[in-house]
């Protein structure tokens, strides 16, 4: 080793935590790779079949399917928007209760946090299964499942963005003799807005993708058609469905970029 090069530590050696954070994950990966059956052999032997599948996608689209595709995509988008809107309304108070600096009591903070992680512990698909068996097939159980899981995530995101709000503004409010509720409304929430918008846009993106597979369990959206055409090797449809989901996700991504710029750059004022 070149002796004139040192790490910026008192003894010139790399810090122990940095070494461990590189070495430990590699060790864990090496140990677990065999138990989850990762083998290069298997990956390479699957290549011809992958190519086969890809080749099969190059067929004339099933144009007659287009109206139904449009209808199902629209349903997917509607499910996404409804579920997200519902979740935002529900998660706002929960998020405030789950923020350490805004919660009225440490126990309420703890309990709300635990409730949110309980909701998050099961994925949308499992909640959708629960709601489908209770409410029957269709988009409604899908919306409910999606909204529920979104509350779990959004509540946590809102709480975290409130917790990192600059304490100076809060102190400024407190010094005027206002109540905690008023200081949440006038100091914490406005300062947390850029963070909210960031998480909201991420959640919209995530929910669109989640809504497109909920059909797998009969909870509405494009998912049912997608799974059925996969199972029936209906390549004429698979390509169309995949492309339209891709187009929609990309469109949303572009829109959210524009919106984020405005919101965080300050052109989108609260007033």
């Amino acid at each position: 080793m070149n002796p004139s090069w040192y790490w910026p530590t008192p003894n010139g050696k790399p810090p122990l935590t940095a070494v461990l954070s590189v070495v430990l994950p590699i060790a864990v990966l090496a140990l677990t790779a065999s138990t989850v059956d990762i083998s290069t052999n298997k990956i390479f032997s699957a290549l011809p079949r992958m190519l086969d599948f890809t080749r099969n996608l190059w067929v004339m689209p099933d144009w007659a399917y287009l109206p139904q595709l449009g209808e199902k995509m629209l349903e997917t988008v509607e499910m996404t928007l409804l579920a997200t809107a519902l979740a935002v309304v529900l998660s706002m108070p929960l998020g405030i209760l789950a923020a350490k600096n805004a919660s009225p009591h440490p126990w309420i903070f703890r309990m709300t946090r635990d409730l949110l992680s309980l909701i998050r512990s099961l994925p949308e698909l499992v909640w959708a299964l629960v709601f489908v068996s209770a409410l029957g097939l269709g988009p409604l159980p899908g919306i409910m499942a999606l909204a529920l899981v979104t509350v779990g995530f959004m509540g946590k995101f809102i709480a975290e963005s409130i917790e990192v709000v600059d304490f100076k503004a809060i102190e400024g409010l407190d010094s005027t003799g206002c109540t905690k509720f008023q200081s949440i409304l006038y100091a914490m929430l406005p300062q947390a807005v850029p963070d909210f918008i960031g998480s909201l846009l991420y959640i919209l993106d995530h929910n669109l993708r989640a809504a497109s597979i909920l059909g797998l369990v009969g909870a509405g959206g494009i998912g049912y058609d997608m799974v059925m055409s996969m199972r029936l090797f209906n390549y004429e449809r698979i390509g169309m469905i995949a492309l339209s989901i891709y187009a929609l996700v990309t469109l949303l991504d572009r829109l959210s970029d524009v919106f984020r710029q405005k919101a965080i750059g300050g052109n989108l004022n609260v007033h």
């Binding site: 100076k168 102190e171 400024g172 005027t176 003799g177 206002c178 509720f181 008023q182 409304l185 007033h271």
Partner: protein, 259 residues
Amino acid sequence: MAYISLRAVHKTYPNGYCALKNFNLDIEAGQFIAVLGPSGAGKSTLLRAMNALDPATQGEISIDGVALNKKNYRKIRAHVGMVFQQFNLVNRLNVMTNVLVGRLAEHSWLSSLFYLFPKTDYQIAEAALREVDLLDKAWSRADKLSGGQQQRVGIARALAQQPKLILADEPIASLDPKASEEVLKLLRKICSEKGITVIINLHQVEYAKQYADRIIALNAGTLVFDGSPEQLTQARQAEIYGTVAEEIYHEPELVLAHA
């Protein structure tokens, strides 16, 4: 009884650091009082004890004959304005809302929920903004203003509380000399014209001598000088700043509290 009186006030921080020791002080209404002393002497602690942002651990503080306690501090704060070194504005809200915040203590949670204020509040806020000469910036976002302007918004917020007392915790420490003078002149004018008592923490002895009616100085949590600007001679200044409380620099929490 004096307008503000502190009797045997002690402040010990949770980590055991004692910032105010057996502190006694009387302040008459309508005076402009400068508080001097080295960093860590307890100047901020003193001001922050007066509106219970950092309540005293022992002793009694009374303002206008009312003793400060856990139950009434909000009521007392409603008429005690505070001006901060870092302005402590809500950056993302416009200037008008930042000033109207000074009226919140008078309102119920329901009207606050919808960001609604009565017309009388707008008149008070406008008068406050005119006082600090920022009425033309009323609808700008607070963080778009310069440091000096932001501090004047801070003063307007305090004025909107219609206070009898303004506590200014190193209000010019983050400002350039020109903005500093503007802010000091403004506070002096508010004190003289409206009869509002102003207690201001300062690092500049010259400014204290120039603007204050009375100067008090702290070192290591005790009062080491109390008198008129004329009485603060070179020799007395050397005494005040002679022994710096070194220990505080080893306590990050306290350095923050005094920053």
